[in-house]
């Protein structure tokens, strides 16, 4: 990790800094070298290469930072967009001035270098050079004459005498060196007045050719660092036809030497600069470009650094804000500096602490509220009474399960709706909603009312109690289903009646019947025909009525039967077939059946179920009467309701239909519209249905007549059990 950290530091900090330094030094060195200062010589290409590498490093460093910024922007890092904006602003602020300065510097450089080369100055330098040449030419003519004199004195002299002449004349003519060369280029004699010029410069081919042509050679020549006048003249040798060469080096006077050197150097420098003008411009432009790039890159790097320094605490603050927004209050905050950002950080920290405390309090309160709500919901769900809560506007807010069960409506689906909307969807509940709405409007604090409501499961008697909540918070309506209670009370009463009838009435019937039969046997033969007939009719009536009373008492006995039904899986269609077969052969009855597919199983007491079926058929036949041929239709169908399966057994007739006031009370004992009925048939059917967890309902058919539907739960016993079920013969 340490190595990685060091490498990261080297790549991100040290390397760019080194590159900046290298580029700066390279620019300075190149500028110094171009201006003619300390030359960098053979290191020039290395310096140029180093500058290029430094530029590449800086470009890479900036590209790396740009890439990192792009990644931060893409992942939405806190402060990334602010950093980008700051960076752009800083670069826009810094780079244009640098570019402007660069442009002006280039222009200024160009103009300055061009101004060096003044035409008049060049002309003056050329003129001065020409003057120098004229002066030198004058001195050259004198030297030529002197050399001609020396040559005349050397004419035809033997080689041995030449040195003496030279030694004598060198001081006379003021030469620095006099040398006589032979035909073969050999030095025959030489004399020098300056020890620095002991070795005579050998005449080159040009010189020899010119002298050989009969001419003379006289020219100023730079010998070493000194301008000398070199004169060469031919000299006749001591042997006829032989030729020698006298070469003389003459110095210029010291003052003239200095002046000519100055003129030559000035002209030289001017011409050199003139030649280097283009290269100088190019080199300085290159150096300026380096400086421009250096400045731009440093500015960009610095802008990155400044933006990062400015944005970093804000970015961490933004991250902390997000964390606090997400409910994490333990996010570390940046260290507060002694400026506005520090103030912001401190304020944020204080705000976070307060929010954390408030949030904790709110959370605790919410938990407590939730606990209370859960408790209340549990309480409401376990109430057998229906509870509905309304707001001040009469909109439903709360409904418990009992309310849904009693009203037979999905009250949860009406949360937020008004009573009017509920009534519009379920008009049969108008007898429930209308009194409620009336009480809401009435402004009573509490009210109590008994209602009769028609639901999908039949007519129900409800005891409705309502209360207006304090502070105009709404209303609560609590209602109990009295239907079952009332029915149970009536059933219990009828059961008691039936039991007492069976016990108190049935016992004396047999002695009455026996007594009547004995009276008949004893007195029928002794009395006159007229009196006998009277006795016969009277006793017959007594016996018949006692039989009728017995039948009725037995029926009451059935109704009040205390034994629980023996439930077991029954194949309903098989049982129906058994019962209906008894009526099949009766030509007076038209019996038809429309049974559901398959064989629905019900868990029932077969004897009781047969009794219920007989009662329903008997009820249908009695309802039809003798007016027309009875048409009985027996149907079964499978339905779903309340999350479980049901089988509905229907017995329809072609009778006059149900009376207009038909209701639940018609299923109570001693309620009948038929002349012959006991009023117990439907009561027994209803009791059997309830013993099996089912129900009985009656309705008119569209095509005429009525249909009584016995609803029984489908047995959900395992398949193996069902296979074992046989028809209940």
């Amino acid at each position: 990790m340490a190595t990685r950290g060091w490498l990261k530091f080297a790549l991100r900090r040290a390397l760019p800094a080194l590159a900046v330094l290298a580029l700066l030094l390279a620019s300075l060195k190149l500028a110094e070298d171009a201006a003619g200062g300390v030359g960098v010589g053979s290191y020039y290409r290395w310096i140029l290469g180093a500058a290029a590498v430094a530029l590449a490093v800086l470009v890479f460093a900036i590209a790396q930072r740009l890439w990192r910024l792009r990644v931060d922007l893409r992942r939405g890092a806190p402060g990334a967009r602010l950093g980008r904006r700051l960076l752009v602003m800083l670069v826009l602020l810094a780079v244009p001035p640098v570019v402007v300065v660069y442009g002006f510097a280039l222009r200024f450089l160009d103009a300055t270098i061009d101004n060096w080369f003044n035409v008049k100055l060049e002309q003056a330098l050329d003129d001065a050079l020409e003057v120098g040449r004229i002066v030198v030419a004058e001195r050259l003519r004198v030297a030529e004459q002197a050399s001609a004199g020396v040559a005349a004195r050397l004419e035809s002299k033997p080689e041995s005498a030449l040195q003496e002449v030279l030694d004598t004349d060198i001081d006379t003519v003021g030469a620095t060196q006099l040398t006589v060369f032979g035909d073969d280029g050999r030095v025959i004699a030489t004399a020098s007045s300056d020890p620095r010029y002991l070795d005579p410069p050998l005449p080159d081919a040009t010189l020899q050719m010119r002298v050989a042509g009969g001419g003379r050679y006289a020219a100023p020549e730079p010998i070493g660092d000194v301008l000398m006048l070199r004169v060469a003249v031919p000299v006749a040798g001591d042997v006829p036809g032989s030729r020698r060469l006298l070469q003389g080096l003459y110095p210029l006077p010291t003052r003239l030497q200095t002046l000519t050197r100055g003129i030559e150097n000035a002209s030289f420098d001017f011409q050199r600069l003139k030649f280097l003008r283009g290269s100088l411009k190019l080199t300085f432009a290159l150096i300026l470009t380096f400086a421009l790039l250096l400045s731009a890159l440093i500015v960009t790097l610095a802008a990155f650094g400044v933006a990062r320094r400015l944005v970093a605490p804000l970015g961490r603050l933004i991250a902390a804000t997000r964390a606090v927004g997400a409910g994490r209050y333990d996010t570390p905050l940046p260290i507060a500096s002694n400026d506005e950002v520090g103030f912001l950080v401190n304020s944020f920290a204080q705000m976070t602490r307060e929010i954390e405390l408030a949030s904790a309090r709110a959370q605790k309160s919410a938990q407590e509220t939730e606990r209370q709500r859960a408790w209340l919901v549990a309480l409401l769900e376990r109430l057998s009474a229906g509870v509905l809560g309304f707001d001040q506007d009469g909109r439903l807010r709360v409904a418990n399960r009992a309310a849904e069960a009693i009203l037979g409506v999905n009250a949860t689906g009406y949360i937020g709706h008004t009573l009017a909307e509920l009534e519009r969807d379920r008009p049969q509940l108008a007898t429930f909603t209308a009194p409620l709405a009336r009480h809401f409007r009435g402004g009573l604090r509490e009210w109590r009312e008994e209602l009769v409501v028609d639901t999908d499961d039949g007519r129900r008697v409800l005891m409705l109690r309502g209360t207006a909540l304090p502070d105009d918070a709404g209303y609560v309506a609590v209602f109990d289903d009295l239907t079952v209670l009332n029915r149970a009370q009536r059933d219990a009463a009828w059961g008691e009646v039936a039991r007492r009838l069976a016990h108190e009435v049935k016992n004396p019937l047999t002695p009455i019947q026996l007594a009547a039969e004995r009276l008949r046997r004893r007195f029928l033969g002794r009395l006159s025909a007229e009196e006998g007939e009277l006795i016969d009719r009277a006793t017959h009536t007594i016996v018949a009525q006692v039989e009728a009373l017995k039948t009725m008492v037995n029926a009451f006995g059935d109704y009040a039967r205390p034994q629980p039904p023996a439930l077991r899986p029954i194949a309903l269609h098989a049982l129906l077939d058994d019962v209906l077969d008894l009526y099949e052969n009766d030509q007076r009855i038209g019996l038809s059946r429309d049974l559901a597919d398959g064989e629905p199983l019900v868990r029932a007491d077969a004897v009781r179920l047969r009794q219920a079926l007989h009662n329903l058929i008997k009820n249908a036949l009695e309802a039809i009467g003798d007016a027309k041929k009875p048409q009985i239709l027996v149907t079964t169908r499978l339905v779903q309701g309340g999350g479980e399966g049901w089988v509905e057994l229907g017995v329809a007739d072609n009778g006059p239909g149900l009376p207009p006031d038909f209701g639940d009370r018609w299923f109570e004992p001693y309620t009948t519209s038929k002349v012959k009925g006991t009023g117990l048939g439907l009561a027994v059917v209803k009791k059997i249905a309830e013993e099996h967890g089912g129900s009985i309902r009656a309705e008119n058919r569209a095509q005429g007549g009525a249909v009584f539907t016995l609803r029984l739960p489908v047995d959900v016993a395992p398949a193996a059990t069902k296979q074992a079920v046989a028809a209940p013969h």
Partner: protein, 179 residues
């Protein structure tokens, strides 16, 4: 920036059209005495236009002559020498000068640049004594090139990139007789 880019483009175009100079080592041999060996060197030289201009404007051109004696290339040298020859023009006397910078006394002047370059045909450069005592089988390598480092600072950039400022002779090798 645009001006600079235009200059660079124009410069590149001009560079492509420049004719480079030429430098060839025609002959080389070890002469002189065993105590004072001399490198006799014959150079054929033709200056490019910019070089000739520079010379005529008083900018000296320096040729670096390197001599190396070794049995195998890249192995340690048995003898090595590096000399500089300066070509220079003097406007007052209108003379071209050929000078061995390491032996200041050896100065030759010429009236024309043609004679100056012809003077390169007969160079005699003093060598260290080691060159006179080379064992047999030793290979002598002589190279000659324009020394860019000796040019004025302003000319270094063109000298680095412009072909007209490239002047370098192919290496001349031979095996001298055992000394």
């Amino acid at each position: 920036m645009f001006a600079l880019a235009a200059c660079l483009l124009a410069g590149c175009s001009a560079i492509a059209q420049q004719q480079p100079g030429e430098l060839v080592i025609r002959a080389a041999s070890i002469a002189g005495t065993p105590d004072a060996p001399v490198l006799a060197l014959a150079l054929d030289c033709r200056l490019s236009g910019p070089m000739q201009d520079a010379l005529d404007h008083g900018i000296p051109l320096t040729l670096r002559i390197s001599a190396d004696a070794s049995r195998w290339r890249f192995l340690s040298s048995q003898a090595r020498s590096e000399q500089r020859i300066e070509l220079r023009y003097f406007p007052l006397s209108r003379r071209y000068q050929l000078r061995d910078l390491d032996a200041l006394a050896d100065v030759r002047t010429f009236a024309t640049p043609g004679y100056l370059l012809a003077g390169l045909n007969s160079l005699r450069l003093p060598l260290p004594a080691a060159f006179a005592k080379l064992p047999s089988g030793t290979t002598l390598r002589v190279g000659a090139e324009l020394e860019a480092a000796a040019l004025p600072g302003a000319l270094r950039l063109p000298a680095l990139f412009e072909p007209a400022w490239q002047l370098s002779a192919a290496e001349y090798t031979w095996q001298p007789a055992a000394g």
